[in-house]
Symmetry: C2
Subunit: 494 residues, 2 copies
Amino acid sequence: MAKEKKAPRPKAETPKGFRDYFGAEVTERTQMLHQIAGVYHRYGFDALESSAVETVEALGKFLPDVDRPNEGVFAWQEADEDGNGDWLALRYDLTAPLARVYAQHRNDLPTPYRRYAMGPVWRNEKPGPGRFRQFYQCDADTVGAASVAADAEICSMLSDTLETVGIPRGDYIVRVNNRKVLNGVLEAMGLGENADHDAVLRTIDKFDKVGEQGVRELLTKGRLDASGAFIDGVGLSDDQAEPVIAFLTSKAADAAGTLANLRAAVGGSKIGQTGIEELETIAELVQAQGYGADRIDIDPSVVRGLGYYTGPVFEAELTFEIFDEKGRKRQFGSVSGGGRYDDLVKRFTGQEVPATGVSIGVDRLLAALREKGRIQSQATGPVVVTVMDRDRMADYQAIVAELRNAGIRAEVYLGNPKNFGNQLKYADKRNSPVAVIEGGDEKARGVVQIKDLILGAKIAANATLEEWKERPSQYEVPRSELIAKVREILEGQD
Amino acid sequence: MAKEKKAPRPKAETPKGFRDYFGAEVTERTQMLHQIAGVYHRYGFDALESSAVETVEALGKFLPDVDRPNEGVFAWQEADEDGNGDWLALRYDLTAPLARVYAQHRNDLPTPYRRYAMGPVWRNEKPGPGRFRQFYQCDADTVGAASVAADAEICSMLSDTLETVGIPRGDYIVRVNNRKVLNGVLEAMGLGENADHDAVLRTIDKFDKVGEQGVRELLTKGRLDASGAFIDGVGLSDDQAEPVIAFLTSKAADAAGTLANLRAAVGGSKIGQTGIEELETIAELVQAQGYGADRIDIDPSVVRGLGYYTGPVFEAELTFEIFDEKGRKRQFGSVSGGGRYDDLVKRFTGQEVPATGVSIGVDRLLAALREKGRIQSQATGPVVVTVMDRDRMADYQAIVAELRNAGIRAEVYLGNPKNFGNQLKYADKRNSPVAVIEGGDEKARGVVQIKDLILGAKIAANATLEEWKERPSQYEVPRSELIAKVREILEGQD
């Protein structure tokens, strides 16, 4: 027979920038999402799971360019007879789909509509270390509520959520700022109609990195950056820059002090005064619910997202210190952000719909808990029932069924049982706490051997040969006492 | 000023064949996945979440055609400088990614590798009523175990899973068949090397629809179908068709009887005898674990998937009756299927790796539970704290915080509070059980009004005007007794 020409073997690889999650990585995230959903639910938010695929048209921002929309989304064109099918794309966040859902179903949904959503989103970006093109988001938003009570509620919910997943009070802070106050500051600067507001906003965005003096220089005459390059300034006068600096550094010892500083910064600006009143109301409302400034704090130095949002802006930071990759101490930083945006639904309906919400970075939050040793990614494996006699598989299946019926995670070794050493190596790879052994001799005597693998590993690491030979980590018990003994060992290991 | 040219508004629509899931639809599915994961975990299976996006090369089956792979998957080409980027695609099931994951990580994974996976998959197919292009799968597979003990374990786990999610014993059956027995039957037919085995397999696949006599006709001289069209037969003689019929109808009162019938059907075929021994072993092993034929049964009439799998094949059916869309009684039918496939990993590594597994149709299982009234899709909404006095929002926030801290799902009305009727309409739309009212008068007297909305709706539906006026569904209690009264009402509503 002629030799068949073989196709080359496919590569067994995830696409660049994607990864797989195994075991505890999956279950810990599931557990955290479950806890967060519990808090969101208690606050009256309803679950929503929109489709992962949207039309590019509905997603907005990313409109078909020449041939293919490629501004950060994964997109493709539907095949139809004449090649003119819709462009579809994977969602890049959970907010754009919410706007589409609300516009589509607004007659059936309650108003205000409180919804939460959790799931993967996709970004067509250059992958880098720790940067993936698929990751989880976990959002809660209130659509159709103009009242800042909705913003205050998001803040207290965020505080509750962090404590529920295991961040103790004192290790986090929810900071609140307001875009309207910044708008007031811009008014107070008297820049005039044609001034480059965006350049000012972009500069403010760098406050986290360059600090007060850096922002001052960048707003005025320019600045030498760390690499020695000269960054052009916006060209404002020192007087014009001053309200911005006053705004960014207005944080005082208490909310009253901060608000007083802000009043000075916005001067006579109406919008600025409205923004300050909103912050004041938020402070009052969370106070009424028992949230002090140790949990939710008015802090005008929060600048992330000020360009995007239209009203209050929130950010949750973890305040404990960790060591970064270079061994330096630094604060863990932001795990959640959000704010008010009033124009997303308008794209579809022409009507402005007020909305506010928050997004929690679940993977960062998990990393923080692991960093603090609050969750252990190394999960305990199942009890392994070894196979001493291939023909008595039914006996081993009966043992494993008994263990499972007692609520104990357990499995029979299903590989080739010939080499017993391989079975124990397998149990080790599975991180099994206990192995059960029933050879022909044990069967005849009505007993089983039970090996405490955790204790055994400790002894193996430290013991002398004599101690090792005594094998104090292995027990022989009557078959009828199997469950009780396994349970005793498991409880002793906790 | 010149009028700006406006872009047309985007349509607020999911792409064709996609849909959104709201509230209880989401939480009930999450709950079911959680229950299933619990059983899988107890059986020693580990969670795996692979990326939703794979290279088309790794997915296999669907190779890039001329321009774009379009055989049932959503695929697109990565942009790179010279337009030769990889083709990527959304996964169409959870088995193909498992093969890729196992091949990629086989040196780090235990062997055998038991894994479960749950999540959406995508099919680029013509959508139809009730057919969506994104849906959930929930799989468990054991890779690297040649022993039929692995197949037996899948069957008992499937039985446990169905009972755990709420299908009582007696309302389901896990049926087991074996492709090897069918191969034995084909050998026994003496069709010769060049015979069209595929035509026979395709015919057997129709057994569910056309029954014994239909299969007999289709294997031989052909058959008039219901529409009056003549379907050509495979052209076998009656004698040649007989072993197939014997195979399909071999189910007897007990496993021993069925196996005896199968032995007659396969005659001297070695592969057939092996297949029968495997079924016998599976029957023994599940029996040893306490699963009788009322839960797991050898049944050669299970033909779904026989063409795809290489060994044992399983199917879980719900046996209770429902009314179909035409009002006729019928069995609910299949909710899960699986079997042994030994060639998926070979594509990547060249080595044959035995594997067996099962996939549960979560959405069908949810539909079954809803059909039986075991879950109610209409979830209870939150307690709604109404806003009588816009300036006292802090009071209402304090009430709602108190309710939540007591573990009661609650929210403040965040819409425009001017029209009180709208607030009650909102509570109705939210399916709220209770509304809390605290006007200025109540505040002054230190009381709150608590409305039992469920009882109120019942009274409104049936009451006379006099009864209605008495408003026995509304209670005035001291502010300090708010939590106790709300709890009392909620407990009375269960």
